[in-house]
């Protein structure tokens, strides 16, 4: 069974202190799993998490399947999110996604075979004045020109 390192366990103890019940700390603990596992929650973690916070396996699975960010498959080294909601979708976001899929040779929801870049189509990421918007890892790129997508991807590949 997987588990946290002793350094991370210290963080876990600190998190438990901040909630009246252990089970309330489930999401913060899942975020730690994401951080330690390339942005995904592998299934073998479900029971570990259930035991740590004292809930059933079903409870943990119910939570993991509910939230968009909680995926089972590992992400690429870099993760690109493209917003196609309103207003981004009507300001060129759909074209940005199309070009991105072409440039990477994958569809949204997939990772490049070399494991470098994963692509996700997302709903609003709260910076709508800069539409169309993409998020590369934790950084925003604003007013993305669909014609420049290939350059962006090439630059990321070089990194």
């Amino acid at each position: 069974m997987p588990g946290f390192s002793s350094a991370v366990m210290k963080e876990v103890e600190g998190i438990f202190q901040r909630y009246p019940r252990k089970e309330h700390a489930l999401l913060p603990l899942i975020h730690l799993v994401l951080r330690e596992n390339k942005g995904c929650v592998p299934e073998e973690w479900d029971q570990v998490l259930a035991d740590m916070v004292g809930v059933s396996l079903n409870h943990v699975r119910g939570v993991i399947t509910f939230y968009d960010m909680l995926q089972r498959e590992p992400r690429g080294k870099h993760h690109i999110r493209v917003c196609t909601s309103i207003p981004c979708g009507l300001c060129g976001g759909d074209k940005v996604l199309e070009r991105m899929e072409d440039a990477l040779g994958i569809h949204a929801g997939q990772t490049t075979p070399d494991g470098m870049i994963s692509l996700e189509e997302v709903q609003c990421i709260a910076a709508c004045d800069k539409a169309p918007l993409i998020q590369v890892d934790d950084h925003f790129a604003q007013q993305v020109d669909p014609d420049r997508v290939e350059e962006v991807v090439a630059a990321m590949r070089r990194k």
């Binding site: 999401l27 975020h31 968009d68 196609t84 909601s85 309103i86 004045d129």
Partner: protein, 416 residues
């Protein structure tokens, strides 16, 4: 020419302001907290907020002082939860405050916590906003060091801890009871109400859930008094709004205006009108949940009551402009796609209704529409209204119904 009225964005608009604790204090920050800790009781804080007429900035516009007044005084613990789960398409005002001046809403949150007797508050922020969450955590760290958080704040005997809780990508968690479920480590599905959070909220304790922008108004009200706040805005709609202009605007961005100024002026004077000299086709005034307005309907005061009277909603004051080239069917499709994706699936009318509306609008998008389908969109959305536990259902049905009612000609273009 309409100008901004700076109340919340005053610091942010000052050259060289970096939002640090030092800069915030230099600009007069935390003097409201000092005043309250020295000379005001919790009830007095609630009274002044009640007297100011402050209404919630998250979307519903519920009076904040009244919300705090509902918290029973004889039950402990009580909780203050700040809703920073901003995720409504078109809305980015809370992130504007968090990124540029985090101490403003934090001071408001400390004041609110004191008012309702809360000793541990939670800030629920959306999971994808990694940097903004870091920004708040750093600000909180400085507050602990400065003795403005933790035990015995400024020697008053009042203690408060604040914890940032990250969501994991679910729009529905912006609904206050879904947020509380999520905070408790569960699926973020709205609760049956009553009981309301004021009596049974977080961990079944009395809880007040307040939006970032709402809390950011509190330091001014406490410091300058209710009357000073009421000098801004119109009766029953006091104060300012952070208006987020996006879409095909020439100058998209956040602008702070007194409530009740003309929406047309906000669009033209601040937002610069439509970019590229194009004509305006549609305006969504308060985030994707509010009904679309036609260009001839926008000459109205921009406040809760006037926008509601025009058949829409001030909501999050997220003004989205769409130019003459916009395909309204595409706009409707993006809207319903969002709600279909974000419906939590708990209530059948919402889960199924958003699915059927999505399919119907998609048919038009693929030029497979006909008059029966147009009528069916109206009928399905009508059947959805008021049939679920939370407002997401209505927020999906309302705008779609408005698109087909106000722009039937656009849908007819997509008939087979």
């Amino acid at each position: 020419m309409l100008k901004e009225t700076l109340l919340l964005a005053k610091n942010i608009r000052t050259d060289g302001y970096d939002g640090s604790l030092e800069a915030y204090r230099r600009a007069g920050g935390y003097t409201a907290l000092e005043k309250v800790m020295k000379s005001m009781t919790p009830d007095q804080v609630i009274e002044v907020v009640k007297a100011s007429g402050l209404r919630g900035r998250g979307g519903a516009g519920f009076p904040t002082g009244m919300k705090w007044g509902f918290i029973p005084k004889d039950r402990k613990p009580t909780y203050m939860v700040c809703n920073a789960d901003e995720a409504e398409p078109g809305t980015f005002k809370d992130h504007f405050l968090i990124n540029n001046d985090p101490h403003l809403f934090l001071e408001g949150m400390i004041l609110g916590s004191y008012a309702i007797g809360c000793n541990h508050g939670y800030i629920y922020i959306r999971g994808r906003s990694v940097r903004p969450a870091q920004r708040i955590n750093e600000a909180i760290e400085y507050l602990y060091k400065a003795g403005l958080l933790g035990k015995n704040i400024l020697g008053s005997g009042f203690s408060l801890d604040l914890t940032v809780h990250r969501g994991a990508g679910a729009y529905i968690c912006g609904e206050e009871t879904a947020l509380l479920e999520s905070l408790e480590g569960k699926r973020g599905q709205p609760r049956v109400k009553p009981p309301f959070p004021a009596t049974h909220g977080y961990n079944a304790c009395p809880t007040s859930v307040n939006n970032v922008e709402t809390l950011a108004c509190v330091p001014f009200i406490v410091k300058e008094g209710a009357e000073a706040f009421k000098k801004i805005g119109t009766p029953n709609n006091y104060g300012t709004r952070l208006v987020g202009i996006s879409g095909h605007a020439a100058k998209p961005g956040i602008y702070e205006v007194a409530m009740g100024v003309s929406m047309k002026q906000i669009i033209n004077d601040l937002g610069g009108g439509v970019r590229g000299g194009k004509k305006l086709k549609a305006v969504i005034p308060g985030g994707s949940s509010s009904n679309v307005l036609r260009p001839e309907e926008i000459d109205i005061p921009f406040d809760f009551d006037s926008v509601a009277k025009a058949g829409s909603m001030l909501g999050t004051a997220a003004l989205m402009l769409f130019d003459e080239d916009t395909d309204i069917v595409e706009l409707a499709y993006r809207t319903i796609l969002f709600y279909n994706h974000e419906s939590c699936g708990q209530c059948t009318p919402c889960r199924e209704g958003t699915f059927w509306l999505r399919n119907l609008v998609r048919d038009f998008r693929e030029n497979l529409g006909d008059s029966q389908k147009l009528e069916r969109i109206g009928r399905v959305s009508q059947q959805m209204f008021g049939t679920s536990l939370c407002a997401l259902n209505d927020a999906a049905a309302g705008p779609i119904k408005a698109f087909v009612t106000k722009y039937p000609e656009e849908f007819k273009k997509h008939f087979i």
